[in-house]
């Protein structure tokens, strides 16, 4: 009797853990278009203070992400399945698929993330947490782990690098929309 109860309990916990990721995926809002703002803090060993940048982002489901940095240096990056536009080719080549990961995270596409990361999920009443550990050895050399937190949107991203540096991004001011305006779609379609 006790044994059966124990086994049932274990089974429940196991299914809960698995259900964790799917459950969270369900809780995440995935609108057609999502606008928002971000504040990024990059902690580097060589620097006395963290690098802080802020700006706005737009996620268009099935198309890509626009990452517009405003402070301290303005830049506009376009990340889609083809790669990254707006960054110098010599820099972005090595990071071609980091953009993919970002796109997957921001559009809440956890199934895509599961292909590249092992995901451990935990959740409470209104917040959930995901820990992503890279599967590929190449990626492991750069990223140690990524931690995501949120409720119906991803609120926080913490990227722990293998070299010791850390990037914290806090997302806010979410504005979902049903359609993307033509200018935006045009930008995505323009190609790298």
């Amino acid at each position: 009797m006790l044994l059966r109860g124990l086994l049932l309990g274990l089974l429940l916990i196991a299914t809960l853990a698995e259900a964790g990721v799917a459950d969270i995926a369900a809780r995440l809002q995935q609108p057609a278009v999502l606008h928002g703002r971000f504040v990024q803090q990059k902690h580097m060993a060589v620097l006395a203070v963290p690098l802080v940048s802020q700006g706005a982002f737009t996620v268009v489901r099935d198309h890509g992400v626009i990452w517009q940095t405003e402070k301290p240096l303005a830049s506009r990056l376009l990340i889609n399945k083809d790669g990254i536009r707006g960054a110098d080719i010599g820099d972005s080549r090595a990071m071609a698929y980091i953009g993919n990961i970002l796109h997957a995270i921001l559009s809440g596409d956890l199934s895509a993330l599961e292909q590249q990361f092992e995901i451990a999920a935990s959740s409470s009443e209104n917040r959930w947490q995901l820990q992503l550990v890279p599967r590929s050895s190449l990626l492991k050399k750069a990223i140690m782990a990524i931690e995501l937190q949120g409720d119906q949107h991803i609120r926080q991203l913490q990227l722990q690098e293998a070299g010791g540096d850390r990037t914290d991004i806090v997302f806010s001011a979410f504005v979902p929309a049903d359609t993307a305006d033509d200018g935006l779609l045009h930008e995505f379609a323009a190609g790298p």
Binding site: K42, V46, T69, L73, D91, I98, G99, S136, A142
Partner: protein, 778 residues
Amino acid sequence: MNLPPAHSPARPLLPVLLWLALVAVALGIFVAGSSHRMVDTDILHLLPQVKQKALVQKAQQQLDGGLQQTIVWLARGDSRQQAVDKATALAQTLQQSGLFQAVELRQQAADNRVYQQLLAYRFQLLDPATREALADDSQAYLAARLQSLFSPLGMAYAATLQLDPAYSYGRYINQLYDTAGAEIYNDVTLLRDGEHWYALLLGDVQAQGFAGQKALATLHASLAGDDILAAGLPLYSAYGAQQAEQEISLVGTLSVIAIVLFMLAGLRSLRPLLLALLSIAVGVLAAWALCVLVFGRLHVITLVFGSSLIGISVDYSFHYFCDRLRNSQDNNRQTLRAILPGISLGLGSSVIAYGVLLLTPFPGLQQIGLFSVVGLLMAWLTVVLLYPSLAGPRPRHRLPLAPLFAAYLARWPAFCRRHRYPLLALLLLWLAGGLLQVQVSDDIRSLQQPDAGLLAQEKRIAAIGRQRPDGQFFIVSGADQHALLAAEQKLLAQLAPLQQSGRLARWQALSGQFPSPAQQQQNYRLLQQQLIDNGLLAGQLATVLQMRPDAIAEIEQQFAAAASQQLALADWVAAVGEPYRPLWLGCEAGSCSSIVRLYGIADVATLDALAALADDGVLFVDRVQTFNQVLAHYRHIASTFLLLALGLIWLFLAFYLGPAAALQVVLAPLAALLLTVATLALAGQALTMFHVFGLLLALGIGLDYAIFCRVGGHGLSTAMAVVLSLLTSLLAFGLLATSSTAFIQAFGLSLALGIFLAFLLAPLVAGQSDNKGESYVD
């Protein structure tokens, strides 16, 4: 009436035991060696190592190095992940097949090693784009780099900020291995083609025998399709082996069936048939075993020859059993004595003819020579040692079809003699017409017929981005590194217009990526001027990143310390590895050399233009042209050896028959060969080296016919043996002439024609005593 031979019981056993011993040895060698060797289907391996400069040979070895055993596979998917999944499944299938010794799907993240190894020289290494940007506007360059630090993408730069403050080294390493369109996803290399992704997989094939190659061809055929592509030298080899094997089995089987049928029809007893098959089997076994022992690997043309040898080695058996039919008085030993002169002279001439091939510098011809000599010798030994003891009781019946053979031996020569002038005229016309029109072809491309399907796949793979380099390349030399790099740069400048006009797709050279020592110094000075001396770097690091002052000082210190670094070419090559390492030929005897590889040469005119660039210190290597020259050269040599063989055989026969008679005997096959050449010419076939191979074999067989007609002396039985031999040989070689492999077809055709004509001419040189035809009535 049969009197039992008055031998003591022990003596008949001695020859048999001797024979058994020989067979056992042959069997032993065969079993020990043959199962692990790959059957060679590469026509190029028939050719000798051309006496080229050692440098060229070294270059070819380095370039070929990995390619011999590698097959490139591409698995297609509609998304990156799908392509990777397909490739993973494919990798498993390949592993399970047992044909591959290594299957590489996931790259080991080895690129980091290069980064570490060249790190000390990071301020000497700049890629062209970075160099230009720094020279133009270093402020803009630096601003762009710092910008990336603030985005999620600047991870690599941020991680190495202290070592590589302007990310100039990181950018150099990035573009070092850049293949346009290739991407690494989950450790797998992906190539993009429009809407599809292709995952790259490399398989190293194990060395294997015929069976393994067939299995490989079958495996490939079952896998290849729209979404799995494959290309590589082992595949061509495998398909070639499959095709050749089908044809060889067909020919071998039909030959044996023909022999069985004819023997049964003629001799009406099973025992001669079995003994004949035994002599064939033993001959082929010994020949194969010895060839593998001496040469290490067997080429398919030797096997083709071997299956044809079946038709020749059975001749001695034919003569033995046909003679027994003729004369039922003799016992088995006496029969042997009766035919011994004939078959011994025949063997002797054949051994000379094929032995001469062992003297040629051609591995292909040498193999054929050894195979034939050993095979025929073994067959002869079987007849001599074994048959008297095992041939069994005398046959009851008479020679079948006697009129037919009488016709061959008496009527046909008589007819020819009656009409000698018109026939002679016809012959001369034929010869003249043909020989005047003789065309030779030494183009290896006309003899190589790679499988069309494989070629198509290779083209598609090249279009997607993975090309096989062309067979042409440059070897550049200089007194030392500096001179070498300067010479390379000069050549590359000359290649630029060809590239611009699209006649050359691209090149690959060391100096394309490696900065010369002078260039390295310039790079350092550029960084110094544009970033350090003007305080730009220090200023930006302080204001934009708020880097600690001691960290900035550390950076400047490290930069200053690296001022005199010089990266040597050899060290660079050792660090970067593929694909640059095979291009480096090293330095020796006061000269350093490297290879400049060429891709996508458009046409023959471009080839000529490239060849014209050759100079002092610049060598243009065209492997196709080289082979063609070799083919031509050795076609001449093979023909010379043919005549030499004829001369030696004439000498040999002159000992036994007298010079005049020997000349007549040699004339028959010679005339047959000339007529064959004439016929081929009239039929519009261009003569290749493989036609000459066929003529060599026809010489041996034709000689046998002439010798037997001359010396066999036993009339109808000899004729019967000759006719049987012709029919079986013609069947076998005629079938080879229908082969779809070009060089086998050439071989079979000239052979079939040669022996048929020799057959017609042989009775004409028979001895004077045959004129009356009396000795034919038994």
